[in-house]
């Protein structure tokens, strides 16, 4: 089995007296799709923010591809290949779809010195390759038809997909997806599932997603980590997690909900 790409070890984070994360440890191997689930307030978003470098941890560490990345800034994690998306549809609303993807590419386009200033050492993209890379990402995310449309005017589902496209532009080895299905309808949700699987199978990406949409998580993830009140209470394959009495008690509730 390959060495883990992401290692989260004893990660803690407190806000004043409130411990949002208590000694969280888990690993994600290259090429895996892992889900991080738990009830509201379990610390999922905090875990996400600490892993991506948005928040410094109060204890523990995060290793990505053998490098310590905890403590930020997030661009440092991106330089290693760990890129996050946002829970709400986050884009540059006044730019076009293509303009958004272009801005996602920027840390790779900048010349050597400004790239160093931006905190980027690898993934360089020569000017001649920019258009091709942009089109590749627009095609990969099925956004080519909207490329000249202003991002702010897109339907919500498209905006969320654009968020993934912008993250892809930053050249990730691993994507952290913060509730990618939130606010999507049934059809959009299926599309998202297909896209994420394609990213893993065709692009060789590793995915970690925080998600409430159980059907998507169960269908997509090879392993699931369950977080309750800042602590990991279970992890394993979807079926094992779904059958785990502690998980049912704390989060999933009645078994039929788990199949929803």
């Amino acid at each position: 089995m390959s060495a883990p790409l992401l290692q989260v070890e004893g990660l803690s984070r407190s806000f004043g007296g409130l411990a949002a994360l208590r000694g969280l440890s888990f690993e994600v191997r290259e090429g895996e799709i892992v889900g991080l689930i738990g009830p509201n307030g379990a610390g999922k978003t905090t875990a996400f923010n600490v892993i991506s470098g948005t928040l410094p941890p109060t204890g523990g560490r995060v290793r990505f591809a053998g490098h310590d990345i905890a403590g930020g800034p997030p661009s440092k994690a991106v330089a290693r290949g760990l890129v996050r998306t946002f829970q709400s549809a986050t884009s540059y609303p006044e730019e076009t779809v293509a303009g958004n993807v272009y801005r996602g590419l920027l840390s790779r386009i900048l010349g050597t010195v400004p790239r160093g200033l931006a905190g980027r050492e690898d993934g360089g993209l020569p000017a001649s390759g920019v258009q091709a890379e942009m089109l590749r990402i627009l095609d990969l995310t099925d956004l080519r038809a909207w490329r000249d449309a202003p991002a702010g005017g897109l339907a919500y589902g498209l905006q969320k997909r654009l968020g993934i496209a912008v993250a892809l532009a930053a050249h990730p080895r691993m994507l952290l997806l913060d509730e990618p299905a939130a606010g999507l309808n049934h059809e959009e949700c299926n599309e998202l599932g297909r896209l994420l699987r394609r990213l893993r199978d065709e692009e060789g990406l590793t995915l970690l997603l925080v998600e409430h949409h159980m059907a998507l998580v169960m269908a997509l993830c090879q392993r699931i980590v369950v977080l309750v009140q800042g602590e990991k209470i279970a992890q394993g394959a979807p079926d094992a997690v779904r059958a785990n009495p502690a998980v049912i008690e704390a989060y999933l509730g009645a078994p039929d909900y788990a199949h929803a």
Binding site: V78, Y92, R103, G104, L110, A170
Partner: protein, 325 residues
């Protein structure tokens, strides 16, 4: 299908309206040489202000508003004058030293405070401006205190003295055009696009690998160095520096020029300087009401023309095409 929107960013092509604008600007730029001393004096001040406000524009394009910009002009002016006086440096090296001194101070200050957002950054830069002014007042042994430093000789470059208004206007115009061109070039390059991106959405820019703090720091340092270079020029033109020439109302004046001229356009600083520099000179008799006028103008611009006067041609084009359609 159109080519990808990158090449067609605003300002990419020069249309007939743009050509007419450039011709008008060239005529305006040449006018002072055929006018009296008063117009020449105003033209010099417009050029110097345009450079200083361009520096502020660079900081503002990265999403931060400095209320201490005049302090960096002061650092450039004082450092260059003192270097010339005590070390016998000629004008260009002295100006370079002034810009470096300002850049160094901006680096230290910016490293510490650029993580502050919005009003906190504004407050700290305001405090820094006042602090520096008080330091200049207090360090009388070096700075001459409230009396300032008088009798500063004219700028000399390679033996050529810019000792008349006509000659100095040439130097000031060159400086203004150079700073305009530098900003224009920057904002057509990926680094400039990155600055626009992080001003629009810093969290998203950071999460796609742009180190927001470092890029903002770079812009702050460069903007303050530009202001300092203009300060060095100004000290040679006026022949006198004093702490009161760099107080907070000067910093506020820069902000007003930037907002009224246009924050998001490379042309904004020049337009703002052209509109606002002559006003105090023309309304010498109404100094008290001047600030009321500025306040009202600022509110009107922010309400009806948030991107400033420099966005008027674009607005006009939009209206025109809407009527034509």
């Amino acid at each position: 299908m159109t080519t990808l929107a990158l090449a067609a960013r605003p300002g990419g092509r020069v249309g007939p309206l743009g050509m007419a604008g450039l011709v008008l600007l060239a005529a305006l730029a040449a006018l002072p040489w055929f006018s009296g001393a008063f117009v020449q004096h105003l033209a010099v001040l417009v050029c110097l202000n345009a450079v200083m406000v361009s520096g502020l524009a660079l900081v503002a394009r990265c999403g931060q508003l400095s209320l201490g910009h005049a302090a960096f002009v002061a650092i450039g002016a004082y450092a260059s004058v003192l270097a010339a006086r005590h070390w016998g440096l000629s004008f260009l090296p002295a100006m370079l030293l002034g810009a470096l001194a300002s850049a160094l101070v901006a680096l230290l200050l910016g490293w510490a405070i650029l993580r502050l957002r919005g009003v906190y950054f504004v407050l700290v830069t305001f405090a820094f401006g006042e602090l520096l002014r008080l330091a200049l007042l207090d360090g009388a042994a070096l700075t001459g205190g409230a009396n300032g430093i008088a009798g500063i000789g004219a700028a000399q470059v390679f033996g050529f003295a810019f000792d008349t208004r006509e000659r100095f206007y040439g130097l000031a115009l060159a400086a203004a055009l150079l700073s305009l061109w530098m900003l224009h070039a920057l904002f057509r390059r990926p680094l400039g696009h990155a600055m626009d991106a992080l001003a629009d959405n810093p969290a998203l820019a950071e999460s796609t690998g742009l180190n927001v703090h470092r890029i903002q720091l770079l812009a702050f340092v460069a903007g303050c160095a530009l202001a300092a270079a203009a300060g060095a020029l100004q000290s040679r033109y006026i022949g006198y520096v004093s702490p009161e020439s760099f107080n907070t109302s000067v910093s506020i004046g820069f902000i007003i020029m930037l907002v009224i001229g246009g924050r998001r356009s490379v042309w904004g600083p020049l337009v703002g300087a052209m509109v606002l520099t002559p006003l105090p000179e023309l309304f010498r008799g109404a100094v008290q009401t001047q600030h009321i006028f500025y306040g009202a103008a600022l509110i009107v611009i922010l309400r009806f023309l948030p991107d400033g006067l420099a966005s008027l041609p674009r607005r006009a084009r939009q209206l025109w095409s809407r009527d034509a359609a």
